[in-house]
Point group: D3
Chain length 132, copies 6
Amino acid sequence: MFSVTVRDHLMVAHSFTGEVFGPAQRLHGATFVVDATFRRAELDADNIVVDIGRAAQELRDVCAALGYRNLDDEPEFAGVNTSTEFLAKVIADRLAERIGAGAFGPGAGGLSGIAVTLHESHVAWAGYERGL
Amino acid sequence: MFSVTVRDHLMVAHSFTGEVFGPAQRLHGATFVVDATFRRAELDADNIVVDIGRAAQELRDVCAALGYRNLDDEPEFAGVNTSTEFLAKVIADRLAERIGAGAFGPGAGGLSGIAVTLHESHVAWAGYERGL
Amino acid sequence: MFSVTVRDHLMVAHSFTGEVFGPAQRLHGATFVVDATFRRAELDADNIVVDIGRAAQELRDVCAALGYRNLDDEPEFAGVNTSTEFLAKVIADRLAERIGAGAFGPGAGGLSGIAVTLHESHVAWAGYERGL
Amino acid sequence: MFSVTVRDHLMVAHSFTGEVFGPAQRLHGATFVVDATFRRAELDADNIVVDIGRAAQELRDVCAALGYRNLDDEPEFAGVNTSTEFLAKVIADRLAERIGAGAFGPGAGGLSGIAVTLHESHVAWAGYERGL
Amino acid sequence: MFSVTVRDHLMVAHSFTGEVFGPAQRLHGATFVVDATFRRAELDADNIVVDIGRAAQELRDVCAALGYRNLDDEPEFAGVNTSTEFLAKVIADRLAERIGAGAFGPGAGGLSGIAVTLHESHVAWAGYERGL
Amino acid sequence: MFSVTVRDHLMVAHSFTGEVFGPAQRLHGATFVVDATFRRAELDADNIVVDIGRAAQELRDVCAALGYRNLDDEPEFAGVNTSTEFLAKVIADRLAERIGAGAFGPGAGGLSGIAVTLHESHVAWAGYERGL
């Protein structure tokens, strides 16, 4: 099994609902350093999993659509705790949609899975992985 | 599959028995930077895998119980090579016990697995993963 | 010249005023991974710059007083762009006050300077250094 | 499941064929920081996955045989795009051969898999994993 | 004293002349992860050292002009050992020129110094710093 | 001013005397990841600060002479708290002696300073710098 990973980041404000979150119930923020991993069983005709430059550009677009915002004000996240692990799924699903729509090129049809990890600090990170 | 990881560390002395270990047969020491990963298929009612603050506290307690010691003098490790990979299992098992005992809260019943990685330097690390 | 550095972090929301900031004029957030460095010409009677445990605790207290907040709502920062470099100075000055107040112990009188670096992502950080 | 990982690096020149590679079609180069992970279900008689010193030496030898070269001039890679993911497989396969030839010692017969990750920058890496 | 640092990277081929370089006399390559630090005594009217976005863009441009090339074929480096430390100076000087030409905006007149570090691997890096 | 840095590590046991050290008064251990920086105003005839390979080898030798030991049993450290900052000075001084003895080659006469940083964990490090 082969994989390629690219890294980018986004910076957002948000708050959480639920006693378990303690002080994080207040409006605060986070930098999420995002690692997006693309997997496939065999390399494509160019001998790659996916072009790193194209994957980096797609990840940048997905991060830019989320970043520099207060997620509490985004209608799509109304009433949702935008936890690190939840946002990992949001990003993985958006990358999967783009692969399905052809944004990663025709060779990307061979991709079998995606894993996304969001680092919220030097001591905590969360992830989500799914098939394609 | 979702995951959350928290990082802490411990600092111990120990020695190894066996020619394969070369100079590490002498009493020496290590800082182990510990990454503990918690996995589950679906998020809980708060939209998380496990509360990062609680997970960090539990890992800190497990590290504190092992740290600032000479492991060669601990009865529980008598006659055992406390290798990095072995200690990864010790920490994973202790975290699993705490989850079973309810220390991570009732929502933690949905956790399906733990992975622990111990970084012994910038060029070597070891890990152990298990189900719950 | 000797130095000791400890690392902690804080997570805040804020926004910036000024066209130069582009999308960062919107309410967003950041994780700041904070490195606080303490300098002195000669080691103290215990052969250290400052006790790492005590320095870590003081930094944790300073970070906790700032973290999990929307800095735009804090009266002390009213009308101020809480840029990464500005916050580095805030933290350095607060640590200096604590040293002056004796929180780092009597041996800390020999400290000659502080440097604080705030990492806002894997590709950007800012710092401030000052004498004592 | 247990694992041990060791890190080393190599520095090579190469070029790629195919429009997808853009400017990387020109002769350029890369540092690959290489992480080699060895997996096994149970620890060996010394309570380890594999001796970290021996694994590090084997990885160093494999990296040295590839490094400080222009891969475009190596007969074994003639007409091949030596992408990061492809090179991860080359290194994994060479390590597997050495394990099979006994270079990792008799205890290494219990190893069940290898994973190799090549970091080409702080924002991109690729990997390959296989059984033994 | 305040500072802001941004990180980018470039990937090049090159070779060295001189017995001291051993195998690095052969054509090989490197990824250089580049940290560019900008220093000033007081913050500007926007409460910053320099806009991080603008600094990142300028560094990207400087890296792009050098990257994906065989430095041995570049006329400006003919007969020169393009060592890591030498390239740090090249990048620092180019950034200084851009600051002088106004690319960092009018507020950048207050900058007093630049430091550039090039990481060639996880175990080696080199730097150059200069005034403005 | 130019600089070159190389990284290596050592693993030792030790204990500290003094109430300030709390649990670190017990015999414990540490991995020290060591960064040794060499500085000079102008590059030498080969266009470098110092050969990275030679610097790495010298640092490895210095680390090997200290590593895999219980520092409490070393006569040279009898009655001394071998704190991280103290060990940074030990390593810097040993590297300076080797430079003086010609181990870094004749070009190393132009070196003007050394800085050594010892990382004891992901959240704490200490350093020492001196002239030559």
